[in-house]
């Protein structure tokens, strides 16, 4: 490998940041959706398949109607419907959220391939870039931050909206109370199961938008594989990684996109190794982080970290507690 090929100039950095923000956008949307859902105490494990199904549905819709808005709408609806099934089966029929979510993720994936088969590799509409006037001309920063598609801006807005909703609105407070203790919330006059149902559907809506963002913007088109496979699982892991806090979850999403891009760069260094090997690299990283988070709670680790301030800071920043009622099915004794 020649040295000058690795030299990164100013233009390269802008381009790198720009593609990082754009590439992470669907992941941010999906992870925000799941953060909301899990904050209310429900695990929606169906993300991976739902994203694919929504990607297929919105691509075909946009292709047939030639309208991106309708495409995104159908994608959101698809995600909301899948989430509604998870919520209904777990909240009203008392089934395990993990079991239902897992079945739906496998099924929706196959459904997407089956129904999308006739539309594979067709050119279709694509979200155009929307440079922000004036701001786009700032050298370096402009091309990096202000020459994006509506999807990329939308992801950042969604992140901000999720934070405000959770921590600065009354409904967010209700939602968090339900996720911690549905019984107590119920006793205070909150219809806990209804809140959980609503939030799960809302979260699914964002997951559906993430799918639409893939097939209409980030990896335009439809095929088998589409290129969004595995992203749902990443989003689920990011919610844990980020400790159920939207800002940290989103940070994780951008970090993950960075890892994936580094993987592409590394592939340039070893072209004989197939790209899939590098695409798997973030997964061990995810496991290590989860291990590290757990170790951070051990007293011996805390003692060790006491003399190393940066370790302590890292441990504290990773420390998190899951919503208390997370994943608990509707049991006969607490139907609410």
């Amino acid at each position: 490998m020649e040295a000058e090929q690795i030299v990164v100039s100013d233009g390269h950095v802008s381009l790198f940041v720009a593609s990082l923000l754009a590439g992470a956008a669907p992941l941010v949307l999906a992870a925000m959706g799941e953060t909301l859902t899990e904050k209310a105490g429900i695990i929606n494990l169906s993300l991976d398949g739902t994203i694919l199904l929504a990607a297929m549905a919105s691509f075909i819709t946009a292709l047939k109607t030639q309208s991106l808005i309708v495409g995104f709408g159908v994608g959101a609806l698809t995600g909301a419907m899948a989430a509604a099934v998870v919520a209904f089966m777990s909240l009203h029929l008392g089934q395990s959220q993990v079991a239902v979510g897992f079945v739906i993720t496998l099924m929706t994936k196959d459904l997407a391939y089956f129904l999308g088969n006739a539309y594979a590799r067709l050119p279709g509409p694509q979200v155009p870039t929307m440079p922000v006037p004036w701001l786009k001309d700032i050298p370096g920063l402009g091309p990096a931050l202000f020459q994006h598609t509506a999807v990329t801006y939308g992801a950042v807005l969604c992140l901000a909206a999720t934070w405000i909703f959770l921590y600065r609105s009354r409904l967010g407070l209700v939602l968090r109370a339900v996720g911690e203790n549905p019984q107590a919330a119920y006793a205070r006059g909150i219809h806990a199961r209804r809140v959980q149902f609503g939030v799960t559907v809302l979260g699914g809506l964002l997951v559906g938008l993430a799918g639409a963002a893939f097939s209409l913007s980030v990896k335009p088109g439809w095929g088998r594989p589409q290129g969004a496979e595995g992203i749902g699982w990443i989003a689920l892991a990011l919610v844990i990684f980020g400790g159920w806090h939207p800002l940290k979850v989103a940070l994780g999403a951008y970090l993950f996109a960075l890892l994936q891009m580094l993987g592409i760069t590394l592939q340039g260094l070893w072209p004989s190794i197939p790209s899939q090997v590098f695409q798997t690299a973030p997964f061990p990283f995810m496991i290590f982080t989860l291990v590290f988070m757990h170790l951070g709670e051990r007293p011996e680790m805390e003692r060790w970290a006491a003399t190393r301030p940066w370790v302590g800071r890292l441990l504290r920043s990773l420390r998190a507690r899951a919503p208390q009622a997370l994943g608990r099915p509707a049991l006969p004794e607490n139907p609410l």
């Binding site: 009203h92 008392g94 994936k109 129904l115 190794i273 197939p274 989860l290 988070m293």
Partner: protein, 344 residues
């Protein structure tokens, strides 16, 4: 939960079939093809001839092996989503033994390959188990992460150290010498030895779960880990044992794929049988006696669906849609029964 009566079981089965068939038929109709045509081609493609039936059994063997392994982890309440990776590692173990044991007589190499496969699959599962019990990583994410790592490992081996001389391609490693193929019988399209071994392992698993201390311990921990702990059972040790057993069985599924089906290591060696096995065990509601039948039905769907692209230009993933809707319908019917018992 009380065990449903025979009549209830039949009624449940009826509703599960109605729901699942309705859903799948609607999906097929949506793609513009008559559901009847699709089902007919799938039936003919799976049971239409002895050769097709042998194909079904070729899928049935690894699927049943994975499902039997999952019984151990389901009983103790673990979501062993990492079966895919365990199958892949089993195939890697078997391939490694065959490659390194070159020249040795196959009577030595093949048993060693089976041991290697069980060990690799078992250790891969043990890694997920240790992450769960020692490092607090939820087994779903540990298993899933390791699945992706296993995929990466297989690809690296195929394109790196084990690549075919001269070229590296997605078609896999070099084909094993015929002496190291899993033995079959002339005139049989599927190895009767493998069929017999799978049936024997089925009996063994049933015995282990019903008649031994292990079965009791797994059930006790699965029902209530804290109570089991108070009774002197160590939940994490039993969890690791359950993972080890599940991984070993999945490893054999991988060995079968490499030694008997493909005669080499290919990128998609697990063929998603690990994920499918999770559906089998869920539909069987963890009863070992149901597993061979459901696995056979699922295998038939998989084999039959290969006809769809050729005959009707449909994607073969219809099999997955039917399998998924069956499990989903079963969960829904189970939930309805739960709801009724609650209100009565």
């Amino acid at each position: 939960m009380k065990t449903p009566s025979f009549r209830e079981t039949i009624r449940h089965l009826f509703w599960i079939l109605v729901l699942a068939l309705g859903l799948s038929s609607a999906v097929v109709a949506l793609s513009g093809v008559s559901p009847w045509d699709a089902y007919r081609h799938m039936l003919l493609g799976s049971l239409g001839s002895w050769e097709k039936l042998a194909q079904v059994f070729r899928v049935w063997i690894p699927l049943t092996l994975c499902s039997l392994g999952l019984l151990y982890t389901f009983h103790i309440g673990l979501w062993n989503i990492g079966v895919e990776g365990q199958v892949a590692l089993g195939a890697v173990g078997a391939t490694a033994v065959v490659r390194w044991g070159l020249g040795a007589p196959s009577e030595l190499v093949l048993p060693a390959a089976l041991v290697g496969a069980a060990m690799c699959g078992g250790l891969w599962a043990l890694a997920a188990g240790l992450l769960k019990t020692q490092a607090g990583v939820n087994e779903i994410f540990a298993g899933l992460g390791l699945n992706f790592v296993a995929t990466g490992l297989v690809l690296w081996l195929i394109f790196g150290p084990w690549k075919q001389p001269g070229i590296a391609s997605m078609s896999g490693t070099e084909t094993f010498a015929e002496a190291y193929w899993f033995p079959g019988l002339a005139g049989w399209h599927v190895s009767p030895y493998a069929l017999g071994a799978t049936a024997a392992l089925m009996g063994f698993t049933a015995w282990m779960l019903r008649a031994t201390r292990l079965g009791l311990a797994l059930k006790a921990v699965g029902r209530n880990a804290q109570a089991a702990h108070l009774l002197g059972l160590s939940p994490s040790r039993w969890m690791l044992l359950a993972m080890l057993l599940a991984g070993a069985l999945a490893g054999w599924a991988g060995a079968y794929q490499a030694l008997a089906v493909y005669h080499r290591l290919i990128p998609n060696i697990s063929s998603q049988y690990g994920y499918l096995a999770l559906l089998v065990v869920m539909l069987a509601r963890e009863r070992w006696s149901m597993i061979p039948f459901i696995a056979f039905f699922f295998a038939a769907l998989n084999v039959g669906s290969i006809q769809l692209p050729m005959m009707l230009r449909l994607d073969s993933s219809l099999a997955g849609v039917i399998q998924g809707s069956l499990v989903l319908a079963a969960l829904a019917v189970q939930g309805m029964a739960w709801k009724r018992s609650k209100s009565s």
